[in-house]
């Protein structure tokens, strides 16, 4: 698989309220998932799968920065993301920002998002691709929603253990 044709740039704040960009995590492999904390089906499944991936990586997981980027900045404040991830997926760092910032981030990863009215208010349809940026913050891989934890972990382990020029 070749590197995906993405800009893969962002300027957001993490769930501690600290401004971050894709360069903040240079030196580590960024495992990036877009979603929102109110998501009932797709995101819980994706995050659980990525937890499984990190488990499978064992000690190599230390080289990975798992990031969860919101597509619902109106509700996903840093505090809310911190509480949500801390309780359910503590290895992930949540990233949020203004609507403009999160929209720009989604566009740079070519993520589809669309707000949809529901009886409870709204949800946000979004692409559930998992992205990987290399330690230089360049796009390296992506995995579609249909890839299993085992398949992603196998790919990722091969990258983490391969000698780098």
């Amino acid at each position: 698989m070749t590197a995906p044709p993405l800009r893969a740039t962002y300027s957001l704040v993490d769930h501690h309220g600290t401004p971050v960009t894709e360069r903040t995590y240079r030196g580590r492999w960024q495992l990036v998932q877009f979603g929102f904390t109110s998501c009932r089906v797709v995101c819980p499944r994706a995050l659980a799968k990525l937890d499984d991936v990190l488990d499978r990586l064992g000690a190599h997981a230390a080289a990975v920065a798992p990031l969860y980027v919101t597509v619902d900045p109106d509700r996903d404040t840093p505090e809310r993301m911190k509480a949500f991830l801390g309780a359910t997926h503590p290895r992930f760092t949540g990233l949020t920002g203004t609507a403009q910032q999160t929209g720009d981030a989604a566009a740079s990863f070519r993520v589809f998002t669309r707000r949809r009215a529901t009886p409870a208010g709204y949800d946000v349809q979004h692409t559930a691709i998992t992205y990987l940026l290399d330690p230089d913050a360049a796009p390296a891989r992506y995995w579609s929603d249909t890839r299993t934890a085992e398949a992603i972990a196998t790919d990722l382990a091969a990258l983490l253990t391969a000698p780098r020029a």
Partner: protein, 487 residues
Amino acid sequence: MSDGVLTREQLGHLRHWDNLSRQLPNDWSQMHGKGVSQDDFGGYRFQLAYMVYGLALAHRHQLPAAPGLFAPTIRRLIEKLLMPEVWLYWRDVSRGGSVFNAHLSDRLGEEWDPVARDNIMYSAYVQSCAALHDQLFGTDHYAAPGSLTFRHWSFFWGGPEKRFAYDRDSLTEHLYWLMVESGYLGVACEPNCVFQICNQPAILGFRLHDQITGGTRADDVVAGYEKAWADFGRLDAGGHYAMMISEDTREVRPNERPSPWVDAWCGALMNTWNHDFVHRHYRRQVADFLEPGPDGTLSVPSAPARQVMGQEIVSDTCDLGWVAAWASEMGDRETLDGLLAHADRFMNPTWRDGGLHYSRNDTPADPDGRRTEIEPMSGNVLLGYARLNVPDGLRGIYQQPWPAGHHEEPRLTAVDRDVEVSRAEVVDGVLHARLRRDRTVPGDGTVTLAGLPAGARLRLGGAEITPRVRFVLDVPDGPAVDLVAAS
């Protein structure tokens, strides 16, 4: 096909496609539809692409040991598909202004690159035809950088040369990410107009590319596509295929008249990955469109031309042709035979230079009310496609790549233009072919063999022969002869 041998009519369609592929650059004789500016089914892109699809079906299912008959024709058709006359419409259409996107025209600019955004009604055919070629013939011909280049320059207008270089892999990657950005709902044709139908060739292209490179794009896209369309439903309230969805409003446009081509085109293509669904609805859907005629003939009346903004829409419906193609894919022999019988009786089958086609006729019906109207897309391409297809034929290409070792088997690796091949298959390691010299077209009358075991013996017309040039056979004049090549 009769007893493993193509019929005269099937051979006539193959010859006609070969003849069209050999027309001089920008000679589009016999291919002009009713409309202007490559609108709708009058566009050359559809005829060119579905000739490639039809050739692929014929090779995969009818003449698997004759790559040399098909590969050059497919390459010539793809070369035509890349010609500016085929895609320059996009420079204008990209600006919007149709009744579906008039409100967007202020923000839409002129786009020369015909595959950069939207226009899946063209880009997916370039992608899928190139992938079909490379998958069927076991080659990376269209993986070469720039092998799919869109180029235009005119001495008289337009400024500097426009050149947009792609190849099989880069175009596939590009279309995949357009799909991702759409949330897998699909890429638009005209701006804002996402047709179910026109995204099916892209899915076929993804699958073929996966077969070549080992990827999983088709499965990814189909999974996303299923989820995206679940909100809207693939069928409309009348049980026919939803035609399109507007990107901005998410308004679904049903097959409201209903128009036969919508269901037929969509069903014939979607069967590749969605067999059970398509087959489950086929009988009920097609029954709405068929009109019985004399002696078992069947016709397909078209819905009256629509009036929009005080204008009558001028277009080639291709209804009968598309229903024939659909029936062939569904394995509905009775319907297919009825439609072909109607075409043969009422639509003026014409033989020229050894090829069979049904010339364009804009007269709706004869004095008895029998449909006589036929469009270049139907008469040049779709009726031949239907005749050469087999039940679930396109699905077979999608689901079942050649078995391992196919490309090393005994085969006709080159076929001169004046040789008609009505059988070419390998049975228990032995190549069987039926060949006829056709003096109505020019050529040297030879076929070239490859993949034969050492010491292979050749029998032509029952007599053992030794070619004057190793593996190059002269096909004799006269009736068709059988070639058997065995160790």
